[in-house]
């Protein structure tokens, strides 16, 4: 009775209904917000970002479902109490039960909409990458070097700073070349980035001159979460070429070649333009 009077004529100290609703929602959203901030702080700097998003979405779904079920139980409990009371229940209790049931029903609609949106989003997110890969994947007809040059110890120090292990590879190739008793030059080459996803393919680097021998290592350059990784690529040697078996690549991936050009005859000059000297050819893997 008193509650109906209060609602009909709100006093100056009564909290407005819209502020009450914000307060109610803030109670509901406080926990996911705190968890979200903690999780984002951790996963944001990790490669496992996707895992973080998945876990976050899963937590939201579970949380909202629990909130909904709890509210539903409360409303059902009220209705059950009302219906099990012998005789007529007081009007204010009936009104409270009906209001609770209405609120529960309204909340249920929002939860269903939310769950549908999450389910649809998950489905799109789940299917987007595989579908995009399946549609866009193709074997490039030609692959060209974006840059290929002789290693210069003074100008290429940045490369060693970024990827220190390359210094050991260069030293190893140099030592080996000197021990072979041939004139050798260390070559650094990077292909242009793949535009589309690619299947596994063989990429062969060859030289036309019989007096030149090319050898070395290749790596797939892959960028993920602002980090660059060098994935070693298996090598197969033929007489005048070296072929690399590239695994399936993502758009933006490149092949990085770190090799040695050896001249069989001492006294001959190194080719000045490596772009013209090296030929890149693509073939399918066996």
């Amino acid at each position: 009775m008193s509650s109906s009077q209060t609602s009909s004529s709100p006093g100056p100290w009564d909290v407005p209904p819209w502020l009450k609703r914000i307060y109610e929602w803030s109670k509901v959203l406080a926990i996911p917000a705190i968890v979200g901030v903690a999780v984002a702080g951790y996963f944001g700097r990790q490669d496992a970002g996707v895992l973080g998003y998945v876990l976050g979405a899963f937590f939201c779904v579970v949380y909202f479902t629990i909130v909904f079920i709890r509210r539903n139980i409360q409303a059902s409990h009220l209705a059950e109490t009302l219906l099990s009371t012998s005789g007529d229940a007081p009007p204010d209790e009936r009104a409270r039960a009906v209001q609770e049931l209405k609120r529960s029903s309204a909340f249920a609609k929002w939860v269903i909409v939310f769950l549908l949106v999450v389910a649809l989003g998950s489905l799109v997110w789940l299917l987007y990458q595989p579908l995009s890969y399946a549609v866009r994947r193709e074997r490039p007809k030609i692959v060209v070097f974006e840059s290929i040059k002789y290693f210069d110890p003074t100008h290429d120090q940045d490369l060693f700073r970024e990827s220190p292990f390359l210094e050991a590879v260069v030293a190893y190739l140099k030592d080996e070349g000197q021990a072979e008793g041939r004139q050798t030059g260390i070559v650094l080459g990077t292909t242009k980035a793949f535009v589309n996803p690619t299947p596994s393919l063989n990429l062969a680097i060859s030289v036309d001159d019989d007096e030149q021998v090319v050898s070395g290592y290749a790596f797939r350059l892959h960028r993920a979460n602002k980090r660059l990784s060098y994935d070693p690529v298996p090598v197969i040697y033929a007489k005048h070429s070296v072929a690399f078996s590239l695994p399936p690549c993502d758009p933006g991936d490149q092949l990085f070649f770190l090799g040695r050009l050896s001249l069989i005859k001492n006294g001959t000059a190194f080719p000045p333009n490596l772009q013209d000297n090296f030929t890149l050819s693509v073939s399918e893997t066996h």
């Binding site: 080996e176 000197q178 021990a179 298996p234 090598v235 040695r260």
Partner: protein, 198 residues
């Protein structure tokens, strides 16, 4: 008192010296030499030839095979047990000759094959054995740091991918069904060893 101390010191010195002179040396000095050849029996220069005694992360000795002749020669090696020779080159598959006697001179000439080059079936089998021996040598090292040093020095991750190719693509010989089954079993087992390097 002083004389007694002096006498004791002198006696211990004499006994130590006589023990050193009379005890025969357990580690003989030996020579290890040989040649590195490719699949066409041409000499290969520049190959890193390293002597490993299991339990040591670094080679006891190493040198590059000579240009033109492909020869190598280690003199005066004192080894504390049977040893392995590991052959490494950027163009060729790593090979290991294992369990050579440490008390006698050795002449070991080795055929190595270019990475991915089809080879006789016996060489395919040896490729698997070498990979497994490599994992064994790494596992034999007690400390994780030593293992990391050893693996970091000579392992080539791409080698394991090459070991996983079809047997028919790895050899230049006709493969009987029996031999294919045998080598595929060896291959599976060898590839399963890779995880032990991590």
């Amino acid at each position: 008192m002083t004389n007694t101390k002096l006498l004791l010191w002198f006696a211990s010195l004499v006994s130590s010296l006589s023990a050193m002179l009379l005890t025969p040396s357990l580690e003989a000095q030996i020579t290890v030499e040989g040649k590195v050849l490719d699949g066409s029996n041409h000499a290969v220069g520049g190959v890193d030839v390293a002597i490993y005694v299991p339990g040591n992360p670094s080679p006891i000795a190493s040198q590059k095979s000579r240009p033109v002749t492909g020869e190598y020669h280690f003199d005066g090696l004192q080894l504390a047990g049977a040893f392995d020779i590991m052959y490494t080159h950027s163009q060729y598959d790593r090979e290991i000759v294992s369990r050579l006697a440490d008390q006698d001179n050795q002449h070991v000439s080795k055929v190595i094959y270019r990475k991915g080059q089809p080879r006789p079936l016996t060489a395919v089998h040896e490729q698997f054995s070498s990979a497994r021996r490599f994992v064994f040598l790494a596992s034999f090292l007690g400390s994780p740091n030593d293992r990391a040093t050893f693996v970091g020095r000579v392992d080539e991750p791409a080698l394991w991918d090459r070991l996983g190719r079809k047997i028919d693509d790895m050899t230049n010989e006709k493969v009987s069904e029996q031999m294919r089954t045998f080598l595929e079993t060896e291959q599976r087992e060898t590839l399963s060893f890779r995880n032990r390097l991590q």
